[in-house]
Symmetry: C2
Subunit: 348 residues, 2 copies
């Protein structure tokens, strides 16, 4: 690897100044066609790749946005334990960023342990998208003092920060309402994720909304906690069933719903005949499993896209008032709720 050549080298060989080279590469104005061609040819010939560092320093814009997401896989054991959720968000962010020529820097961080990493990322980017549970609130505040930060899927109200999220609460209310209204079920249990997860909290709140609407007693906490994993969901459902089987288990996400289906099978209970089950997120597996899991579709990729778009907007105009984007969710009817399998359509 011969040292990366510089703008000086290109300028020297082209017989022009570095300013002209810079202008040519920026595709601006102020040079003749012949100069342009010569410079470009020599740059290509040299295989010159301009230094993003220097460019960023001079123009005070790196063209990089950062994405911090919660580091789950590392503590969990199996690969499938870590939600594909995040992957879709990453893809969405990537898409939105490259659409405007920016790039995405990613890092998995976990509150305390990821502090240093988070700051390291922050030093390299123009702005940051921070997913729920990836760094502490205090650190968010510190970071937000020196660069634009968009909160993603973290429903906590934070002073003056842009926010992008999905309407978890309404989704949970709708799917629970479906169970109550369409299937006449009046004995439902909610299987939650990690208690500190805002997503889990919002979904539980929506569950409660639906119970209240249906005139049913409202619990003050989820019936059990499955940590958002398939194994955790199975475990939680198993111990729940050991006591008393409800007519329906509303799960905080799809992984746990799939785990719950396993627990029902093990307990020789039929789903949905004996116990209806619903999920949340609409991951691919919900389509492949039998019975198909009735769930709530989250626009995960779009979440990532919108977050980056909001960030870019903020970068362009720092004076805008704080922005909040709440993306709609959608109930997806399959058969685990008791609907006939054929009716695999979506309804609002």
């Amino acid at each position: 690897m011969p040292d990366r050549s510089t703008i000086y080298e290109v300028a020297r060989r082209s017989g022009v100044s570095t300013a002209t080279v810079s202008r040519v590469m920026a595709d601006g104005k102020g040079f003749s066609q012949v100069t342009r061609d010569r410079v470009r040819a020599i740059a290509a010939d040299l295989g010159w790749v301009p230094s993003g560092q220097a460019r960023g320093l001079a123009s005070r814009r790196s063209g990089i946005v950062g994405l911090l997401f919660p580091d789950l896989g590392r503590s969990g054991d199996a690969e499938e334990e870590s939600p594909l959720y995040v992957d879709q968000v990453i893809r969405g962010a990537e898409r939105a960023a490259t659409a405007v020529g920016d790039a995405v820097l990613i890092a998995a961080t976990q509150c305390e342990s990821g502090r240093e990493l988070a700051f390291s990322i922050a030093s390299k980017v123009d702005g940051l998208v921070v997913m729920a549970r990836s760094i502490s609130d205090e650190d968010v505040d510190v970071l937000a003092r020196s660069l634009p930060v968009v909160m993603l899927a973290n429903n906590r109200v934070r002073s003056g920060l842009d926010f992008v999220g999905a309407d978890n609460r309404t989704g949970a209310r709708d799917i629970t309402g479906h169970l109550i209204t369409e299937h006449g079920i009046r004995d439902l249990a909610f299987l939650g994720g990690p208690p500190e997860s805002p997503d889990s909290q919002d979904r539980f709140a929506g569950f409660c909304d639906a119970l209240a609407l249906g005139g049913l007693p409202v619990p003050d906490a989820p019936a059990a906690d499955g940590g958002f994993t398939e194994a955790g969901g199975e475990r939680a459902a198993r111990s729940m069933l050991a006591e008393r089987a409800p007519r329906a288990i509303v799960c905080g996400n799809d992984e746990m719903a799939i785990g719950a289906l396993g627990a029902l099978r093990a307990a020789r209970l039929r789903a949905p005949a004996d116990v209806a089950v619903t999920g949340f997120d609409d991951i691919a597996a919900t389509r492949h499993v039998r019975p198909g899991v009735t769930t709530v579709h989250q626009p995960m990729r779009e979440l990532g896209e919108r977050a980056v778009q909001v960030l870019l907007g903020r970068l362009a105009d720092a004076s805008m008032p704080p922005f909040t984007v709440m993306l709609p969710t959608e109930v997806v009817i399959r058969s685990s709720c008791g609907c006939p399998a054929a009716r695999q359509r979506r309804r609002p």
Copy 2:
């Protein structure tokens, strides 16, 4: 957002020079404990985040590695069409990079269309991991002239570049051999991915190896091409079955295997009783579908990790001879090959 404060501000308030601040932040040597504490306190108080640009420019190391992966989702329609494969690789890369304090810059590129993007990424990083089919060979060569490049899963022999990949050929040979040896099947068809995919080519080669070993006639091309997608696999299998059903369909990946299972169901053929089916990759869905898909496990996450590790090694020592890492694959027996469902264990 008040302007990001600089090292000058910190130095001034601390009553020391910028050099000292730099030393303190680098956790190096050459300052008293009291100076250190004062500087750190003031830096924290100011919420100072050092500029990665300036730091990179001065130290000629950005602490960022780039990952270029093929941009599939954009052309395909549904989300699930785009292989989860890539997501795992991204996660692995992220893990390996953050383990040493680096960050990963990601971009989806598609040969010609992604040229510009690829160069933009290259300008921002210390080195590049390039996945198969994400940019053209010529562009790889150009980029490799100015920064270290590691090829990932691209089996093409490229002069002097580091390479990391999985042993597709042996995996395909083993799983095909299983069908021939354990199940006595002598009439097999290979369902390939995009003809230009090195992965697909290698797997087909392994398929042929096994046929030759079993004394069976060796075709010179896959029986059909399903583009590595579930829908494509179903379509290809359907038209294959319209002519004549083989005793086994060896699919180039899992998505197509799942599609093929759908086609068999539609044709009122039983799997594996009438036609055995195998996949490749071991994605999560292969466990959830019925029958469970016998497949070849690819260490996708590890692929990403190793690629970044090799890149970091190259960064540390540019003079090493080109490095090749071939990770082993592993046959995972489920029931779509004809084995009893209970025997869900792995074998080499």
